[in-house]
C-alpha cells in the first residue's frame, strides 16, 4: 500500500510514526501530544504505540520544551517538538534563536542539533487571537535555522522525514487550514531535494510563487485566470530558508512577471526578499515589477475580519492583472 490518499495531518502522523519506528533516538515532545494526540490530533495514537518515553507530554513551558530538546539532541536524541500554535512559539523564540540556531557554528561544527520544531501556522480557521499567525520570516531571517512548509499531504509526509533526518535544526510550519485536505502520498517514493521549489502548474504569462496554505489559493487563481485566457505558472516554494531562487528565476525568465503570495505581512516578509533577489537576477527579463500580496502591517485581526486580511482569489487576481497591465 505504498500510494494512499490521505489528509495532510494524517500524512504528518504517518511520517512521525515512520520516524519513531525507524530510529529509536527520535522523540516527540510537546503539550498534549500524548493521550490527546495534540490539539489537532496530529500525534494521534503515537503515545499508545510508542509509550510515554518516546512521545512525551511536556510541562506547559515552550522555552523548556525547546531548551530541553536541545539538551536531548546534545545527548544523541532527535527530538521533534510540537508548538501548539504559531502565536505561542515566542516564549521559545529565545532558545530557538540564541541557542538552537547557533550552537553548531559556535562549536565550529562539533555539535549537531537535529531538532525539528513543528508549528501549525496561518489563519482561515476562525480562531481567537494568537492562533492564526505566520511568523516564518522571523525564523528564516536567522542563520542556522532551516524553514520549510509543505502545501500538500505528500510533501507533508516526505519533508518531515527529511527534516528529521537532517543534522540541522528545522522549523517545520504546518498549514493548519489545510490539515484536512487530502491528496496522494506514496510512502515508497524517492523524494526530491528538501529545499527545492516545484512548478506545480506550468504557464507562460506570469509566475505566481506561494507556499504552505497559499499554494491552493494560487492554483485556484491560475485556474480562474485561465478562463480569461491568461496562462499562469504556479511555483510552490516549499522552503523559506533556503529559498530556491534558481527555480523561481527559471520560471520568471520564461514568463517575465512575478507575483509572490503569502499570508504573512508583506512588509519585510519572504516576498520582499524574493522581489529583491529576482529583480537582481532577472532585471532584463522582467516586464513588470515584482508584486507582493499578503497580510497587512496590523495584528492578525479578529476572525470576522480575516477574510479581508488573508489574500484570497480576488486580491491575487488583482495583482495578476496589475502585473500584466505593465
Amino acid at each position: 500500500m505504498a500510494a494512499e490518499k490521505m489528509s495532510l495531518s494524517k500524512a504528518i502522523n504517518a511520517s512521525l510514526r515512520t520516524a519513531l519506528e525507524s530510529d529509536p533516538k527520535v522523540l516527540i515532545m510537546g503539550e498534549d501530544v500524548g493521550k490527546l494526540g495534540g490539539v489537532f490530533r496530529v500525534t494521534d495514537g503515537l503515545q499508545k504505540d510508542f509509550g510515554e518515553d518516546r512521545v512525551i507530554d511536556t510541562p506547559l513551558a515552550e522555552s523548556g520544551i525547546v531548551g530541553t530538546a536541545i539538551g536531548l539532541a546534545l545527548r544523541g536524541y532527535r527530538p521533534v517538538v510540537e508548538i501548539q500554535f504559531d502565536g505561542f512559539v515566542f516564549p521559545a523564540y529565545d532558545q530557538i534563536v540564541t541557542q538552537l540556531a547557533k550552537m553548531h557554528a559556535r562549536s565550529l561544527g562539533k555539535v549537531k542539533l537535529p531538532v525539528v520544531v513543528r508549528i501549525p501556522y496561518g489563519g482561515g480557521i476562525g480562531a481567537v487571537e494568537h492562533h492564526s499567525e505566520s511568523p516564518e520570516a522571523l525564523f528564516a531571517h536567522v542563520a542556522g535555522l532551516k524553514v520549510i512548509s509543505p502545501a500538500n499531504a505528500s510533501d507533508a509526509y516526505w519533508m518531515l522525514q527529511q527534516a528529521i533526518g537532517s543534522d540541522d535544526p528545522v522549523i517545520y510550519f504546518e498549514p493548519k487550514r489545510r490539515y484536512h485536505d487530502k491528496s496522494e502520498v506514496d510512502t515508497a517514493a524517492i523524494p526530491g531535494p528538501l529545499h527545492a521549489a516545484r512548478v506545480v502548474r506550468p504557464g507562460a504569462d506570469l509566475t505566481l510563487a506561494a507556499y504552505g496554505p497559499m499554494v491552493k489559493v494560487a492554483l485556484d487563481a491560475a485556474a480562474a485566470a485561465a478562463e480569461e485566457g491568461k496562462s499562469i505558472e504556479v511555483v510552490d516554494l516549499r522552503s523559506m530558508s533556503p529559498i530556491d531562487f534558481d527555480t523561481i528565476q527559471r520560471s520568471v525568465e520564461r514568463t517575465g512577471r512575478l507575483v509572490v503570495v503569502h499570508e504573512a505581512p508583506v512588509f519585510l516578509g519572504t516576498g520582499s526578499e524574493i522581489a529583491a533577489r529576482i529583480t537582481e537576477r532577472c532585471f532584463y527579463h522582467l516586464e513588470a515589477p515584482v508584486l507582493r500580496v499578503g497580510g497587512f502591517h496590523s495584528p492578525y485581526p479578529p476572525s470576522r475580519l480575516e477574510d479581508e486580511y488573508l489574500p484570497g482569489l480576488d486580491r491575487v487576481l488583482d495583482a495578476v492583472d496589475r502585473a500584466l497591465a505593465y
Binding site: G71, L74, T98, A105, S107, L108, V111
Partner: protein, 388 residues
C-alpha cells in the same frame, strides 16, 4: 534535609520597609547559620552530620593547587585584557572554592553546562585554559569540543544552559546511564524563566541534574535582594527537590555537598539545588565598575573568608604541605601564566572565509551563494594588486 528544615523555621527578617539596595552587613552571620561548612575561615576543620568527607593530604594539596593555578590563570587573563589582548574578561576571583570543590566532585562521564565564568570548573574538566580565551579575544564563540571533556561551551544568555542541562540529563535517564549533569548559574540567573522551567522539567522527569548556583551576591550592580525575597536554595522545595546552602568559599564543603548531590542524581533520586554562598571579589567583567554600587568594606569583609587562604592555613598548621610545595606551586603558576600569555598573543585571527563555515551542518544554498560572492570580491583585490 536538616539544613532546609532549620532554615524554614527561622523567623522572617523584619524591617521590610528598609531600602532594598542598602547592603546589610548583619546578613552575613545569619547566612552563616544556614551554611554547610567543613572548613572555617580560620582554617579549622568542622564536622557536618550529613556531609562528611575525609580527603587525604594529597587530595587537600591537589585542591589547593587547583585553586591557586585557577586564580593565577584568571589574574593573567585580567592583565591580558588590560593590555588589549582580550576584549573582555569575566573574572572568577573569590569563587575558586565553589568551582574547584564542585568541579572535583564530577566523574568523567558526568556532563557540565557552565555560564561564562566557570574557568575553575573547566580546569577540573581538563579543558586547556588557553581555549577559554578565544571567545574573549574575539576569535571564536567557543573554541573547544564540548564532547571531548564533557564540558559544554560557555553560555552568555543568562539561564539558557540550565534547560540544556536538564534535557541532557533526561537523555542520560533514558539511556539508563550511570552519570549526572552539573548545571551552573548565578543568583541573577535565578530570576530567569528558563531556570524556573528547568526546575519544573527536571523535577517532573526526575532528571539526574544538579543545579549549582554560585550566589556571588551580585548580578552586575544588582544585589541578590533584587532577584529574590527568600534564600535561593529554598526555592527547590517548591519544585519538589532538596536545596541546600553551602559555604561557597569552603572548598571541602563544596566538594562534599556536590559529591552527595551528584550521587543522589546518579542513583535515580532526581535533581538537587546547591546554592554556593560566595562572593565575586573583582568586577563583574573588565567593563564593570563595582565602586559605583558597593563599598570597599564589603570586599574587605569577604577577603577574611578567602577560599585559598583558609586551605593554606589548614595545610600549614597541620604540616600537610611544606615550603618546597608552595615554592614549586609558585613556579608552576608562573609557567602557566607565561604559557597563557604566549598562547593568547600567538592566537591567529580566523580566516576570512570562516564567516561561511559551520552555520549549517548539511549546507545551505544562501550561504553557498554568499560565500562564492565574497570569495570573488576578496579575489578582486588580489587581482588588482597583481595588476599594479
Amino acid at each position: 534535609m536538616t539544613v532546609e528544615s532549620t532554615a524554614a523555621r527561622k523567623p522572617r527578617r523584619s524591617g521590610a520597609k528598609r531600602s532594598t539596595t542598602a547592603r546589610d552587613a548583619k546578613k552575613q552571620p545569619e547566612a552563616q547559620t544556614e551554611l554547610v561548612q567543613l572548613l572555617t575561615p580560620e582554617g579549622e576543620r568542622v564536622e557536618h552530620p550529613e556531609y562528611a568527607i575525609d580527603p587525604t593530604p594529597e587530595e587537600l594539596r591537589g585542591l589547593y593547587r587547583d585553586m591557586v593555578l585557577t586564580r593565577r590563570f584568571d589574574a593573567e587573563a585580567t592583565t591580558l585584557q588590560r593590555q588589549g589582548e582580550l576584549g573582555l574578561w569575566a573574572s572568577l576571583l573569590g569563587q575558586e572554592a565553589a568551582q574547584i570543590g564542585s568541579g572535583r566532585a564530577l566523574h568523567d562521564d558526568d556532563y557540565v553546562f557552565p555560564t561564562y565564568r566557570e574557568h575553575g570548573v573547566a580546569w577540573c574538566r581538563g579543558v586547556d585554559p588557553t581555549n577559554l580565551l578565544g571567545m574573549f579575544r574575539g576569535v571564536n564563540h567557543g573554541g573547544w569540543d564540548p564532547n571531548s571533556n564533557n564540558f559544554h561551551l560557555y553560555t552568555i544568555v543568562i539561564g539558557s544552559q540550565t534547560l540544556h542541562a536538564t534535557g541532557y540529563a533526561m537523555g542520560i535517564a533514558k539511556d539508563g546511564a550511570d552519570a549526572a549533569v552539573l548545571a551552573y548559574f548565578g543568583d541573577g540567573a535565578s530570576s530567569q524563566g528558563d531556570v524556573a522551567e528547568s526546575f519544573t522539567f527536571s523535577a517532573v522527569y526526575n532528571a539526574p541534574v544538579v543545579f549549582f548556583c554560585q550566589n556571588n551576591q551580585w548580578a552586575i550592580s544588582e544585589p541578590t535582594e533584587k532577584q529574590t525575597r527568600v534564600p535561593l536554595y529554598q526555592r527547590a522545595q517548591g519544585y519538589g527537590f532538596p536545596g541546600v546552602r553551602v559555604d561557597g568559599n569552603d572548598v571541602l564543603a563544596c566538594l562534599a555537598v556536590t559529591k552527595a548531590a551528584l550521587e543522589r542524581a546518579r542513583t535515580g533520586q532526581g535533581p538537587m539545588l546547591i546554592e554556593a554562598f560566595t562572593y565575586r571579589m573583582g568586577a563583574h567583567t573588565t567593563s564593570d565598575d563595582p565602586t559605583r554600587y558597593r563599598s570597599p568594606e564589603e570586599r574587605e569583609l569577604w577577603e577574611t573568608k578567602d577560599p585559598i587562604l583558609r586551605l593554606r592555613t589548614l595545610l600549614t598548621r597541620e604540616g600537610l604541605a611544606d615550603d618546597a610545595f608552595f615554592a614549586e606551586l609558585e613556579r608552576e603558576s608562573d609557567a602557566l601564566a607565561k604559557r597563557v600569555r604566549d598562547a593568547v598573543r600567538a592566537m591567529p585571527d580566523p580566516d576570512d572565509m570562516a564567516l561561511f563555515e559551520h552555520t549549517y551542518a548539511d549546507g545551505h544554498a544562501l550561504v553557498d551563494e554568499e560565500r562564492a560572492q565574497f570569495a570573488e570580491y576578496q579575489a578582486s583585490f588580489v587581482t588588482a594588486e597583481e595588476g599594479i
